[in-house]
Amino acid sequence: MPLELNAIDPDWAWRTFEPSDESPWNDRLAAHLLRRAAFGGGRRELDAVLAVTPAEAVRRLVYETREPPELEQTLRDLSIAVLATGNPRNLTAWWLYRLSETPAQLREKMTLFWHGHFATGADKVTDIRLMFEQNQLLRRHALGSFSELVHDVSKDPAMLLYLDSATNRKAHPNENFAREVMELFCLGEGLYTEKDVQELARCFTGWEIRNEQFRFNRFQHDDGEKSILGRTGPFGGEAGIDIVLEQESCPRFLVAKLMRYFLFDEPEPPAALVDPLARDFRASGFQTAPLIERMLSSNLFFSDHCLARKIRSPLEFVLGILRGLESRTDAYALRDELEHLGQMLFYPPNVKGWDGGRAWIDSSTLLARANLVRQLVDQQKGRFAEGEIRALALGYGVKSTSELVDWLLGLLVAVPIPDSARAELIQLTQATMNRGGPFGEVVHALSTLPEFHLG
C-alpha cells in the first residue's frame, strides 16, 4: 500500500487509538507495540499488554520503568565484572544482557536512540569507565528532559574526548563539538551558518577534561561577545546551548527523528504531522516521555502507515527472537555477531550514528542474519538447546504443528506471510517433529523469510 502521509489528518493521526471491530486490539497490534516500544516480547508479555487498553499498555511502558531490586543488583554485579576487565568491548555484552532482561524496555530503547543520536565510539574514547558513565547518563535522561540531556552530554567526558573538545582553548576554539550540537544534536543540516559554528565554538572554550572529569578552565575561556543564530552577548557554553535549543527547528528536528525511530523508516515525516507534536514538545520543556507516549498510543502508530513499515535493526532482529522465545545466549558471541551485522553497541560507525532503515539490509547482511539465527538455534548455550522451543510452545497450550507455526509467526513476524510459505513451514515442522527435533530448524527457516526482517 503506498504511503500517503501528506493526506493524513494530523488530528486523527495523533488522537489516542481506540480499538474497534475494524481494528481490534489483538496479537498483531500488541506484538507491533512490543516490537517498536521494546525489543519484542514473549507470549507472557503479549498477554500482559492485551490485558489492558492500548493507551494503558503504552502508559505502563513509558512510566513504569522500575527494575526489580534483584535485577538491579544483578546488573550492578555484571557491570562491576565487566568494568574490571577494562575492555570496552565487554561493555557491549553487558548492555546486550540488560537489553534482553530488563522489563524497562522502552527506557532501554530510548537509551539506544540517544546512543545513536549522541554517537560516541569506544574505539576513540578507549576508556571503559567513561563509556559506561555516558551510557548511564543517557539512561538517566532517556525519557526525561531533552534540554537537560543536551546540557549534560555537552559536559560528558566521553563525548568531549570523542569530538576532540577535551582541550578547547580560546586561542584555538575546536569547532567539532559546536558543529555537531547544531547539525546532529539539535537542529539538522542547513539551519545555521559557518559563522554560527565558529561563534558557538568560542562559547565552549575552557571546557576541558581533567582526571577524566569535566572542568571549566576560566583562563582558557573566551568571554568576549559572540553572535549566534541572531543573538549577541558574552555567552558561555550553557547559554550557547540554550540559544540552539530555542530555535524553532529544534523540536521539529527531534520529533521527526523520533517518528522515524518509532513509526516508519520512510518517507520523511511531513511537517503537518510533525508540527503538532513539536509544539507540545517545546511547551512541555522538551519532556520526552509525554511525546513518546503520544506517538505510541496514536491512531497513526497502530495504522497500516506504521505496521511493518520499519526494517529491523540487527539488534531488534536478534533480541526479538531471544525475547520472543524466552531465550538467553552467550552475550560475548552475540556481540561479535552484531559487529559483523554492523550494529556494535558502543562502537557507532561515525559521529552520525547508525543510518538505519534500508541501510541495515543488503545481500551479505541478509545471509549473515540467517547464519546468526542458525548459530543461535544450534548452540547448546542458553535455552536454545534441542527440543526446548517445542517445550516452550507446549507450555502455552500449543498442540499441533500448524499451531506451533502460527504461534511462532504471531510472536516473531510483523505481517502475515503467504499461504504457500506457511504451508512449507508446517511441512518442515512436521518433518522435524517426526525425527524428534531440533525445532530450531523451524526458527531458522522462519528467519529466512523477507517478512521476518520487517519490524
Binding site: 544483578t74 562491576i80 542458553g382
Partner: protein, 591 residues
C-alpha cells in the same frame, strides 16, 4: 555410547572369545606375565596386571559418586541414547548372568597386555581370564547374543575357522583370535600369532620377559603399579623415522625450560618406561628412562649442571600458596645458548629481547650481566592474597607471585638491582600515564633487619564503590636477605618470603630433585571463591545463564576443586636414571 556402538563392541568381544577353546589348557605352560608369550623382538609393550582394581579405584571413588550425583550426569542418563544403551547393557548382563563389572573381572583377572613386534609388523592383544571355564562361558554367552542379533537381520557372522598345532584359530577380517587355556590372544599377523602360540605350547625361553632391557625396566618399575608401558627406544631408532635421533631445536621456550633437558638425553636412552598407579588416595604417573651424565649435550648443561648434579632448592611453602616451583636452571646459560636450543625465529626473539631489556637495565647485558648474577637455582611461588585490612580491594583478585634467586655474589648485585627497580617503576609510570593508568609511589620499608623496596599504586577516582582497578592487585617489591634476591608482585608476599628465608635454613639445603612443582587445590578453590561474584557474572554473560544457574555452576567448580588436595610434579636425574613423576592426591573426604 549409542546402541550401535554397544552392538559393535559386543560383536568384537564375542569374536575375541569365539576362538575355539579346545582342551588345550593342559598343553600350555603356566605363564605369570604376558611378556613371556611375546618374542624378544617386541619394541612396544603395555600391561595392566589387575584391570579390576583399576576399574574399582576409578568407578568406586567418591569423586565418581559425586559426578554421578551431579544434575548434568543425571540429565545425560535421561537422554534417549543413554536409555537405549542402558537397556542394551542390561540385556547383555542378563544373558551373561553377571554384571558388566563381574564379567570384566572374570575376563581380565590375570591382566591385559598389548604389544607391537616390528619383526612381524604385528600387534597383539593378550588377556588372561580367571580360568578357562569362565572364558568359555563368557565366549558362549556373547556369541549367542551376537548370533541372535545377526540372525534377526538375516545375516551370518563373517567368521573363518582354522587350526594351528591343535589350537583352533578364528579369523574376522585381518584379526585372528585364539583361546589358549585362560589366555585370549588376538593378533593382526599370522606370524606373530604362531610365534605366541609356539611360546605358549613350548615355553621358548627367548621371550620378551627375558630381554635384558625388559629386565632392567622391571627393576626400574615403581611399586605398586596399576599399568605400565615400555618402549625399546634403541630398536625404534634403528627402524628409522620412528624416533628422531636427538631432540631437535625447539620453538617452545617454556617446554624447553621445564623438560628440555630430559628430552635431550632421551635421544641416547635405550628404553623408556611409563607407569600409572591409581588408588583411592592418588593418581600417579611416572615416566622413567636410563640416564647418564655423559649423555647431556653441552647446550643443556644449564638444565643439569656441568656434571649432571644440579639439584633444586626446596619448595617454598607459605600460607595460602597455590603453586610452588623450585628448579635447578642456569637461566643465563640458557639465554646465552639460545642459538643452540631454539629454532631461528625464537632465537631472534631472544636477541631482540636482550637488546630491549639491556636498554631497560641501564645498558647491562640482560643474559650475561643480569641473569648471570643469579646462581642456577630458582624458586617461584604463587599465593592467595587476603586483602585483610586493605584500603582498596580490586574487583578481580589475582594471586600474588614471587621469585627467589640466589646471588652469585651477595653484595655486588644489590645496588644494581635496586637502581634497576627504581628505573623500571619510573618507566612503568611514564607508560602508565600515557595510557591513562594509575601511578605508583616508591617506598622503602624496613622489615626483619632488611629493606624492602616497594611500589604501590595510588588510589584514584576510578577506584570507586563500583570496582577498584585490577592494578591494586600489585605492589611490586624487591628485597635482599643474605645472598637471596626476592622479587614479588606484592609487598605482603615479599615480607612473607623475607621472614620465611630468615627463619629457616631449609632454603639452603638442596632437595633430591632437579625440578619440583606443587599445586594446592584448596588454595585454588579459595581464589575461585574470592572471585565468585566476578565468575558468576562472567558465566551469565558467556554462557547465557540466569543468576541461579550461574551460581550453581561456580559452586560446582569450587566443590570439584575441594575434592582434590594437590598435584606434585617432580623431575629427578642421577647417574642411573631420570624420571618425571606426576602425582594427583585426593582429599580425605573424597576417598
Amino acid at each position: 555410547m549409542s546402541i550401535g556402538l554397544l552392538r559393535r563392541s559386543l560383536f568384537a568381544a564375542a569374536m575375541l572369545l569365539s576362538a575355539s577353546t579346545g582342551a588345550l589348557a593342559d598343553k600350555g605352560k603356566t605363564f605369570d606375565s604376558p611378556a613371556r608369550l611375546l618374542p624378544a623382538t617386541t619394541v612396544f609393550y603395555a600391561e595392566v596386571p589387575r584391570p579390576t582394581e583399576v576399574i574399582a579405584a576409578i568407578y568406586d571413588h567418591a569423586i565418581a559418586d559425586r559426578l554421578r550425583a551431579a544434575p548434568e550426569y543425571k540429565a545425560a542418563l535421561a537422554t534417549p541414547q543413554a536409555f537405549v544403551f542402558n537397556a542394551g547393557l542390561k540385556l547383555v548382563e542378563n544373558r551373561l548372568g553377571m554384571t558388566w563389572r563381574e564379567a570384566v573381572a572374570a575376563l581380565t583377572a590375570g591382566g591385559v597386555a598389548v604389544a607391537f613386534d616390528p619383526a612381524t609388523q604385528g600387534g597383539a592383544l593378550l588377556i588372561r581370564a580367571r580360568d578357562e571355564a569362565t572364558l568359555q562361558q563368557l565366549r558362549d554367552s556373547l556369541l549367542g547374543i551376537v548370533r541372535d542379533e545377526t540372525e534377526k537381520r538375516g545375516q551370518e557372522i563373517p567368521l573363518k575357522s582354522a587350526e594351528y598345532r591343535g589350537i583352533p584359530v578364528q579369523q574376522l577380517g585381518d584379526l585372528k583370535f585364539a583361546l589358549a587355556g585362560p589366555w585370549l590372544i588376538a593378533v593382526n599377523k599370522d606370524e606373530l600369532g604362531r610365534n605366541i602360540l609356539d611360546r605358549y605350547l613350548d615355553g621358548t625361553p627367548d621371550s620378551l620377559a627375558a630381554h635384558p632391557q625388559m629386565l632392567a625396566a622391571k627393576e626400574m618399575l615403581p611399586s605398586p603399579v596399576s599399568g605400565w608401558v615400555w618402549a625399546n627406544l634403541q630398536q625404534l631408532r634403528h627402524l628409522g623415522g620412528v624416533l628422531p635421533q636427538t631432540l631437535q631445536k625447539t620453538d617452545n621456550p617454556v617446554a624447553e625450560l621445564m623438560i628440555g633437558g630430559l628430552l635431550g638425553t632421551l635421544g641416547e636412552s635405550p628404553f623408556a618406561l611409563a607407569a600409572v598407579d591409581v588408588n583411592p588416595n592418588h593418581l600417579e604417573l611416572s615416566f622413567l628412562s636410563p640416564h647418564k651424565p655423559a649423555w647431556i649435550d653441552p647446550a643443556r648443561e644449564y638444565y643439569f649442571g656441568t656434571k649432571g648434579t644440579g639439584r633444586a632448592p626446596r619448595l617454598l611453602d607459605l600460607e595460602g600458596t597455590l603453586l610452588s616451583l623450585s628448579a635447578y636452571r642456569d637461566l643465563s646459560a640458557m639465554w646465552l645458548r639460545s642459538g643452540d636450543l631454539f629454532v631461528d625465529r625464537i632465537d631472534a626473539g631472544f636477541a631482540e629481547a636482550n637488546a630491549n631489556l639491556s636498554t631497560l637495565f641501564g645498558g647491562k647485558d640482560f643474559g650475561e650481566d643480569i641473569l648471570g648474577a643469579f646462581a642456577p637455582e630458582m624458586q617461584l611461588v604463587v599465593s592467595r592474597q587476603s586483602f585483610d585490612g586493605a584500603e582498596t580491594i580490586p574487583a578481580i583478585r589475582v594471586p600474588a607471585f614471587a621469585a627467589v634467586f640466589r646471588l652469585r655474589e651477595s653484595d655486588s648485585g644489590r645496588d644494581e638491582f635496586r637502581r634497576m627497580f627504581v628505573n623500571l617503576i619510573g618507566f612503568l609510570n611514564i607508560v602508565g600515564a600515557m595510557n591513562g593508568n594509575p601511578q605508583m609511589d616508591l617506598r622503602t620499608i624496613a622489615h626483619s633487619g632488611t629493606e624492602i623496596h616497594t611500589a604501590t599504586f595510588v588510589r584514584d577516582r576510578r577506584d570507586d564503590a563500583l570496582a577498584a582497578s585490577i592494578h591494586h592487585n600489585f605492589s611490586p617489591s624487591i628485597a635482599f636477605t643474605e645472598n637471596r634476591f626476592v622479587i614479588a608482585s606484592t609487598t605482603p608476599l615479599a615480607r612473607q618470603l623475607v621472614d620465611r628465608l630468615a627463619s629457616s635454613n631449609d632454603g639452603d639445603a638442596p632437595s633430591e630433585e632437579n625440578t619440583s612443582l606443587k599445586i594446592s587445590f584448596p588454595a585454588i578453590a579459595r581464589i575461585v571463591d574470592d572471585n565468585r561474584r566476578q565468575l558468576i557474572a562472567q558465566n551469565m554473560l558467556a554462557e547465557g545463564r540466569n543468576r541461579e544457574d550461574a551460581e550453581r555452576q561456580i559452586g560446582l567448580l569450587i566443590e570439584g576443586l575441594s575434592l582434590l588436595r594437590d598435584l606434585e610434579f617432580r623431575i629427578t636425574a642421577d647417574d642411573q636414571r631420570a624420571s618425571i613423576r606426576l602425582k594427583l592426591s585426593f582429599e580425605e573426604s573424597s576417598k
